[in-house]
């Protein structure tokens, strides 16, 4: 008869595909990346002789940790921006639009930008924000400004506008989903029991949509922290995030150093995810 081994296999075989996937595409590359970050880098080559030189370079040069702080700062701004704009949109779609059809239409509209490629979405901002762009033309026609605003494009401002637009849907989607699952009677019950709008938001809507908020925050955080394409395009390559450092290092064949930056970025992302997950247990609530 089957022994312990057989029992284990029959009980846990469903875990194998998922685990294999994780090991192959997440754990193994991660270990490889950590390993490579300790390799010896020469001008053209990299050898598996272990050294901490790349790590020392990263943390001894203000250039690189300033890129790290820059990344964190931009992440926070974009995160706050997507929430400030996204949550009201989600409340509108999820709570005030009670027709499922209209809700679906609005959500699909929010997702339409994703039918085009990432680069096309970024590039589309240029005719919007440029000095001869739509926004400047409108503002000038409305006599709000007399000179075109140049800070809208090829600046950090332009980059943040672009990122907020691109990642907004990752907040709107999950939050709308959670809000639309809230029984409208529950909100009415709270009102009937005497709670005002603020209380209802704080006591009912916030806790009940928390898994959506956390999911949205995780999406936005992971995507923004790993960004390199939007800064390259909309800041005119003038804002350098950790992702851009990695790309530049890979471009100059500094694999070991790119791995250091990659490990640092992965650690930051992991900390953010763990922090966000502490707010709510997604497994329990979704």
């Amino acid at each position: 008869m089957s022994g312990q081994r057989g029992n284990w296999f029959t009980r846990h075989w469903q875990l194998i595909p998922g685990s294999a996937w994780m090991i192959l595409f997440l754990i193994a590359p991660l270990i490889m990346m950590i390993y490579v970050s300790f390799w010896t880098q020469t001008s053209f080559d990299i050898k598996p002789d272990l050294t901490t030189k790349s790590w020392q370079t990263f943390f001894s040069q203000p250039v690189y940790y300033s890129a790290l702080w820059n990344t964190i700062r931009v992440w926070l701004i974009v995160l706050v921006g997507t929430f400030v704009l996204g949550v009201p949109v989600a409340i509108f779609i999820g709570l005030f639009v009670r027709s499922n059809t209209v809700q679906t239409i609005l959500l699909v509209l929010a997702v339409i930008p994703f039918w085009t490629s990432f680069l096309v979405r970024i590039v589309a901002w240029k005719p919007m924000l440029g000095q001869n762009g739509a926004l400047n033309i409108i503002l000038m026609k409305a006599h709000i400004i007399s000179e075109p605003l140049s800070f809208l494009l090829y600046t950090e401002v332009g980059m943040i506008i672009g990122m907020i637009q691109i990642y907004l849907v990752f907040v709107v989607g999950p939050v709308t989903f959670m809000l639309s699952r809230i029984d409208p009677n529950v909100i009415e019950a709270a009102r009937d029991l005497g709670a005002g709008t603020g209380r209802i938001f704080k006591d009912i809507l916030l806790p009940l949509s928390r898994p959506g908020l956390v999911t949205g925050a995780i999406f936005v955080s992971v995507l923004v922290l790993g960004e390199f394409a939007t800064p390259a395009s909309l800041s005119g390559r003038k804002v350098n995030l950790l992702g851009n450092v990695i790309v530049t290092q890979v471009g100059s064949l500094k694999w070991a150093f790119a791995s250091v930056a990659g490990v640092v970025l992965t650690v930051v992302i992991a900390l953010v995810i763990v922090g966000l997950l502490r707010i709510t247990d997604l497994r329990k609530e979704v």
Binding site: P29, V36, S43, V245, V247, T266
Partner: protein, 456 residues
């Protein structure tokens, strides 16, 4: 090939040629957006590669040639019908159409091309075991030779075995001294030594880079110096390439003209001058000099066509593309001279198909394969190109592209009857080379300091 296809080819060509940033698209998009370097590393190992096969040979490689000393073997002497050519490199020259034509004309058993960006190809070439390369040759840009020469991956060959080598322009054998006389010429970079009997790279395409400007805003006189890009007059309206090996020579030529540093070789300056240049650049960046830094052909065209930028270091095909989009744009003749470069075929040591590689290089030099790239604004290194144009019934076009003659006949890619090419004839350009692209001795230092500029 239709006009449209040519245009996209031209675009691809330029995007991938000098652009280190091309790697972003090729490698980064898959992974870095999601998980930082984890993805980059994965993609760097396997991504960004497309393989095209002109013919499916499949069988084992012949033993006709085994690199090293036998490299001088005349291609004609080997039995090409038992050889498979495996090439890789920038999609400027690695093209199905050309490989298929080469196979038909040379009789090789198969010709396979793999388009790769330079970091990808270089990493794979250097990390492959010595003497057992993944490809038979690498089609790359001249300044990228030192890494594979120093790691013994490049194989020096005798070009005189090629039928068309006798038509090579003197630019590649006895080039004029550049204006910055301390710099290496292309000949200094491709030949093994001053005897010029063996070389590491057979040139196939070359050109001269300069400054693109909007003549409505910037006068010709103002633009005809590399210093124009850094002139406070164009604060917030200039752009600079992000590749340090492209941008730094421009910076040094400008600084020399402005009297900021004494420069002898803009392509290879000592650390102290690099420090001074980076400090100057960071100050300029913080003062808002650059509207944008640019990484690829499309970006540059967009910046100038939208008038966000009025002056930038530029490639001539990009300037032509800006004009074709209806924005005035001119290509300067810098007083410091042009920044010249060449792409070529480098045989890889240990390849079993060196005769096929040589036949392939010879084919490139024969003329007809270079017509398309010539019509995009590049030059062919052999004089056979003139006959090829004439045979194709395009003698007038040759005169326009190579001799600076006015355009005759129907408009072509935005060029109208009577237009002349900015900068004049090939001869005039050749006489005005400031510096050749080259690999600086302090490459690691330059790259590291360049990071400081990017992060500032």
């Amino acid at each position: 090939m239709s006009d449209k296809e040519e245009k996209s080819l031209e675009r691809r060509l330029w995007e991938e040629r000098l652009s280190r940033r091309a790697f972003i698209r090729a490698a980064g998009v898959s992974g870095a957006a999601l998980l930082g370097a984890g993805g980059v590393i994965l993609a760097g190992c396997g991504g960004g590669t497309t393989t095209t096969t002109a013919a499916t040979g499949g069988a084992t490689a012949t033993t006709a040639a085994t690199g090293g000393t036998t490299a001088t073997t005349a291609a004609a002497a080997a039995d090409l019908s038992k050889m498979d050519l495996r090439t890789t490199g920038l999609s400027v020259t690695v093209q199905d159409r050309i490989l298929a034509d080469f196979k038909a004309k040379s009789g090789v058993r198969s010709a396979t091309g793999t388009a790769t960006t330079f970091p990808d190809a270089q990493t794979r070439i250097i990390s492959a075991p010595e003497g057992n390369p993944e490809w038979d040759c690498w089609e790359t840009i001249g300044e990228r030779l030192p890494p594979i020469i120093q790691t013994k991956r490049a194989l020096a060959v005798d070009p005189s075995t090629m039928k068309n080598w006798k038509s090579i322009r003197p630019l590649f054998t006895n080039p004029p001294t550049p204006k910055f006389a301390g710099g290496k010429t292309i000949a200094d970079q491709i030949w093994t030594d001053s005897s010029k009997t063996k070389l590491y790279m057979v040139p196939t395409v070359f050109n001269f880079d300069s400054i693109g400007y909007n003549p409505d805003v910037v006068s010709d006189a103002e633009a005809n110096t590399w210093a124009a890009i850094f002139d406070p007059k164009w604060k917030g309206k200039s752009a600079l390439n992000t590749d340090p090996l492209i941008a730094m020579p421009n910076v040094f030529m400008a600084m020399n003209s402005l009297g900021l540093v004494k420069v002898t070789n803009p392509g290879n300056e000592p650390d102290a001058n690099v420090d001074a240049a980076i400090k100057w650049l960071i100050d300029l960046k913080k003062a808002g000099q650059f509207r944008s830094l640019w990484g690829d052909f499309g970006e540059l065209v967009n910046l100038m066509a939208s008038k966000e930028v009025v002056v930038a270091d530029a490639w001539q095909p990009a300037v032509m593309a800006v004009k074709a989009q209806g924005t005035k744009c001119r290509y300067a003749v810098p007083k410091e001279g042009y920044r010249a470069w060449a792409i070529g075929i480098t045989p890889l040591a240990g390849s079993p198909a060196i005769p096929a590689v040589m036949a392939y290089a010879d084919y490139w030099l024969s003329g007809p394969p270079a017509i398309t790239v010539s019509e995009q604004g590049y030059y062919s290194p052999t004089t056979t190109i003139e006959q090829a144009f004439t045979d194709a019934g395009k003698a007038d076009a040759y005169a326009f592209w190579y001799n600076g003659a006015p355009w005759k006949g129907a408009a072509f890619n935005g060029i109208n009857e009577g237009d002349v090419r900015d900068g004049g004839s090939l001869e005039e350009r050749t006489a005005n080379i400031g510096v050749w692209h080259q690999f600086p001795d302090n490459y690691d230092y330059v790259v590291q300091k360049w990071d400081e500029f990017l992060n500032a």
